[in-house]
Amino acid sequence: MSQPVLSARGLGKVIKGRTILKDVCVEEHRGSVIGVIGRNGAGKTTLLDILLGFSPPTSGESKVFGHDSLALPATVKGRIGFVPQQDELIPMITGAQHLALHSSLHPRWNGDLVDRLARAWEVPLDRPVQVLSVGERQKLSSLLALGHDPELLVLDEPAASLDPLARRRFLQELLEISSDRTRTVLFSTHIVSDLERVADRIWILREGALAWSGELDTLKESVVRLQVRARRALPPGLALPHALTQQVRETWASALVSQWSPGEVQSLRDSLDAEVEVQNLGLEDLFVELHA
């Protein structure tokens, strides 16, 4: 298998005695669109910062294109594009001036792509940044991160301030950018519906730990809710296989189970002498259930 674009082992971060991240292990390969979700304060921004080498971990290590995050050579940095949650634009100068500045710093600047995106996203380039809305600033900072054709694009809450239409256009471009399968996109979000459209892999962060990581399709197919209605009272010690959460009350049981395969339903019906309904859950429900 090819070298991972991103990898982390046992990554932890403690700030002033408070654990922000614990034991995060990931490995991602070229061509994936990875979505990171978690509640506020779950550690999303800290994780992205550590992966990119902006801040050192307290324990463990991470690599980008095979190089330690804390010692990325300039050539590797040139292959990364990053859009921080708080933009780092200069208030007094215009978007066009920002673009000119960035293009002069990058030998491989893709002016055509930038022009096309600036039009598609309706970014006002002729006004100083200080008069732009938050959404416009966000789009401008994404443009700046994309101009040098990065192989790894990391975006921290990129679409949070965009209206639904602008968000849709923005996501379409992200997909377009990743569609040749040579680039990798990693983005964090609270907006579960965005993630369901574009991500093929997800990381779910819960209180600093990785609650789940892998393919979104696998998550939706293998973690399901079972509703059980038995003809007689269910045994008090009933343990449904691979239950993450479970409630049993007389003839009724409800459980969230992992590692589910559709073939199991008949044997469960027989063994419990019960109606068993299998509910596939959307990501929003899964997210809530995994935090229950």
Partner: protein, 135 residues
């Protein structure tokens, strides 16, 4: 070769927020339409890119669905051209197979009917009416 009719991309109903993965929704829809004869052999499918763009979803999930359908012999890949519905599929969708595809929906219906204390004859009556009185 004469050009085959093409299914428009908006014919697919994709719901990203559903618990059923997007590729699975697409596979099920194509299988149903082929089994019922709505999609005749030779009909061209919209390109991966077209479906992905129209629905703003990851193209990979669409190619995954098409690849699965090809593996099952439902679709046929044509060098440099759109994928088409493979020949002779209709006859392979036996009654039992087609009924099996409906099982999740039937399970949900049966459950709802039980909760409402309706029995099989009540349901049959409604189904007969909705489906046009064929008995």
């Amino acid at each position: 070769m004469e050009s085959a009719p093409t299914l428009p991309a908006r014919f697919f109903v994709l719901q990203p927020a559903s618990g059923v993965p997007i590729y699975r929704q697409l596979v099920d829809q194509v299988q149903r339409m082929v089994a019922s004869g709505q999609l005749a052999p030779g009909t061209a499918l919209p390109s991966v890119r077209e479906v992905a763009e129209l629905h703003s979803v990851n193209p990979m999930t669409i190619s995954k669905a098409y690849a699965l359908l090809e593996g099952e012999g439902v679709l046929q890949r044509n060098r440099g051209k759109a994928m088409t519905v493979a020949a002779g599929r209709r006859s392979q969708g036996t009654l039992a197979q087609r009924l099996r595809q409906l099982e999740p929906q039937v399970d949900a219906l049966v459950l709802a009917a039980r909760q409402l204390e309706l029995d099989a004859s009540d349901l049959a009556e409604v189904l007969r009416r909705k489906m046009g009185g064929k008995s």
